[in-house]
């Protein structure tokens, strides 16, 4: 057993070494985008309560700034972070090294070039005005070529795996690796290359948006949760035998649930109805995921505080369930009658993207960066600042957007209230949200500084990882995931 554990350790070190540079490059780019996107997002939020802010420059008018911020966060931070984490985790769980990593640098170059041109394009006035597809057409090919390399690397790493079993995290990573390019290509072709007519365009748009959040970001976050919970708590996922059912049921429902964003829109009524039914079917996989995650955590809440990664992962679980529950309520017709078109719909996506996905990536980064670089985190204060800002930011943002959206919905539904009064009523909330976004940005700066310290090759301050205490009972996690 002891020599087994020793072998596993050397093997892991070898895998980590092979993944080091691709992961660092992707994560480094991700963090730069996180900062830039956060700054743009803050500026766009300020414009909501101070419309004159930057409004005299066409490049920074709100209608361009807001989508540019959203795209920088989703394609710059989100996708790059997902690539870094996905490549590393797939290599670890498949117990094989990441080969020919040089190609991944090429992919990273192309991807980031594409996103840069895309964001510039939106600001310069080449936006397409389709949510999350605003980037001008000419960047599509760059992004797809870059993604092709990354996707192929994930899938081949999976197919040359040295393990008997395939663990839950791998299903989600494998699925996401296929779904993203498909969703993206179809949306591009059906919206821009052979455009469909009229209201079919928004139908395809919501299909893509819902798919991107539900079939790309959510699976990657779930892969992180499934991986880190048993590993750091030192016990297997409880009721693991239900996990395959949750996987299939969750993704099959999510794939059809996009229509629920079009309740009462001028589209054939079966589209939102199908979306509502599919959303309601999510209840079962949510219960199973609850059994899996909360069951594993049960009785171990005391040890959560001891691990930074675990704290972020628990935050991610909370974000996932909040977003899913909000998604369920938003697809009820009676609730949608109030919440449609308000800040509440934005909150659902924000909770999934930030509350669930981004926190999972933060947690993962705090776990793998010391192992990849062989150094320790330099500043505990910065780590604590990051975690504190994230927790506080998520709580305040959720409360702020929920209260604002609820109020907005009720005012919108009362025809006696003049529109201007609604705008005035929301101003206070918009100010509040700007402050929260500023707070989150502070946390991100703290994380970036720590990242630079740990990733910089010339930094001799770091100490080699001599003592990673293996969690007490890793046996089953090892058997399941071989990592």
């Amino acid at each position: 057993m002891n020599s087994n554990a020793h072998n596993a350790r050397t093997e892991q070190a070898e895998i980590d070494a092979s993944a080091k540079w691709p992961v660092l490059v992707f994560l480094g780019s991700a963090l730069l985008w996180l900062l830039l996107g956060g700054a743009l997002q803050l500026a766009a939020a300020i414009q909501l309560h101070t419309p004159a802010f930057l409004s005299d420059c066409a490049w920074f008018t709100h209608g361009r700034l807001a989508p540019a911020a959203q795209n920088a966060l989703v394609y710059g931070w989100g996708m790059n972070a997902a690539f870094a984490f996905g490549l590393w985790l797939m290599a670890r769980l498949s117990a094989t090294t990441l080969r020919h990593g040089g190609w991944l640098f090429v992919a990273a170059k192309f991807w980031n070039l594409g996103v840069t041109l895309g964001i510039g394009g939106i600001l310069a006035g080449y936006s397409t005005s389709f949510e999350l597809l605003e980037m001008p057409r000419f960047v599509t090919i760059l992004l797809l070529v870059a993604y092709a390399i990354i996707g192929v690397w994930v899938v081949t790493t999976f197919s040359i795996r040295n393990t008997e079993n395939v663990y839950a995290s791998q299903w989600y990573l494998f699925g996401a690796a296929f779904w993203f390019p498909w969703l993206y290509t179809i949306a591009q072709v059906m919206l821009f290359h052979a455009p469909v007519r009229g209201v079919l365009q928004p139908v395809i748009n919501v299909w893509y948006v819902h798919g991107l959040y539900g079939l790309w970001f959510a699976p990657i976050a779930l892969a992180a949760i499934y991986y880190f919970l048993p590993k750091l708590l030192g016990k297997p996922i409880s009721n693991y035998y239900l996990a395959p059912l949750a996987f299939w049921w969750l993704v099959a429902s999510t794939a059809f649930a996009g229509g629920s964003r079009l309740i009462d829109a001028p589209v054939p009524v079966w589209i939102p109805t199908l979306g509502i039914v599919a959303s309601m079917m999510l209840v079962l996989p949510l219960v199973i995921l609850g059994l899996n995650f909360l069951g594993t955590l049960a009785g171990r809440y005391g040890s959560v505080g001891g691990s930074l990664t675990l704290r972020f992962i628990v935050l991610s679980i909370v974000g996932f369930f909040l977003s899913a529950l909000l998604g369920l309520t938003l697809s009820l017709r009676s609730f949608a009658a109030i919440a449609q078109f308000t800040l509440l719909t934005g909150l659902r996506d924000w909770l999934l993207f930030y509350g669930c996905f981004s926190t999972a990536m933060f947690g993962a980064a705090y776990f793998f960066l010391p192992r990849l670089t062989g150094k320790e985190w330099r500043s505990t204060a910065l780590v604590q600042a990051h975690f504190g800002a994230t927790v506080l930011g998520i709580v305040l943002m959720t409360v702020g957007l929920a209260a604002a959206g609820w109020q907005q919905g009720h005012l919108l539904n009362d025809p006696a209230v003049k529109f201007a009064e609604i705008t005035r009523a929301l101003t206070g909330w918009h100010t509040f949200n700007s402050v929260v976004l500023g707070l989150l940005l502070v946390g991100h700066v703290a994380f970036l500084i720590n990242f630079v310290w740990i990733a910089c090759p010339f930094n001799s301050q770091g100490t080699p990882v001599a003592q990673i205490n293996p969690p007490p009972a890793l046996s089953l996690a090892t058997k399941e995931g071989h990592a």
Partner: protein
């Protein structure tokens, strides 16, 4: 779950099935045609004029859809009609003339599907774009909509007569004496597009399809 092939096929089948749903929607409404009024013999909806179509591109590149929707909910599902955003709910057929359908998902600003009907006055729209707070609605909007001054040209009069296109702004708009504000071609196109945004024709086919179900009489 050990089998990679089953995983692959399942992953593939799920998205394929969902895509098939899109194709079904396309089959159903992908080729809706203009409706010919049997009496007036007009084709509806009418296509956008050339300059309005250019304005659609301005609307698109400025990202107006970030805050404005373009869809009127039907009487029984929302107060849009009571708010004066339209005389009837929107139908899928209304959008077939739009090369890009900006139905939108946020109402930080009012719905614009019928803004051309509410606000046919070009002068008013120019004022709203240049100095929102100088308009009647704008006084209250001062907290919401940004100004789009980059769509206008500030020209010194230098003793000449002011242009016939110059926007007549109140003093509160802050234009210095001896200057005039003239809309650029982009502003003109955008305003033409906004004035064109109106669904005037009520399609008999759609009206009957979207009518609320009648409650059976004689019960209770």
């Amino acid at each position: 779950m050990k089998n990679g092939l089953i995983l692959f096929l399942g992953v593939f089948a799920i998205l394929a099935a969902s895509w098939a749903g899109l194709l079904a929607a396309h089959r159903q409404i992908g080729s809706l045609a203009q409706f010919k009024d049997p009496i007036e013999e007009t084709l509806n909806p009418q296509p956008l004029s050339g300059v309005a179509n250019q304005g659609r591109l301005v609307y698109q590149d400025l990202g107006c859809v970030t805050c404005h929707s373009q869809q009127v909910r039907h009487e029984e599902t929302g107060p849009d009609i009571k708010r004066g955003w339209g005389e009837r709910g929107s139908y899928a057929r209304d959008y077939i003339r739009d090369q890009t359908a900006f139905i939108g998902s946020s109402r930080l600003g009012p719905d614009l599907r019928n803004v051309g009907k509410r606000q046919p006055d070009a002068e008013y729209l120019y004022k709203l774009l240049y100095a929102p707070e100088s308009t009647v609605a704008g006084e209250a909007l001062a907290h919401g909509m940004p100004a789009y001054r980059f769509l206008f040209e500030l020209r010194p009069l230098a003793g000449n007569q002011s242009s016939y296109k110059a926007v007549k702004l109140p003093a509160s708009a802050g234009v210095a004496a001896g200057f005039e504000v003239v809309p650029t071609a982009r502003a003109e196109a955008l305003v033409a597009y906004l004035r064109n945004l109106q669904d005037n024709y009520d399609y008999p086919t759609e009206r009957s399809l979207n009518a609320p179900a009648e409650h059976p009489k004689g019960e209770h």
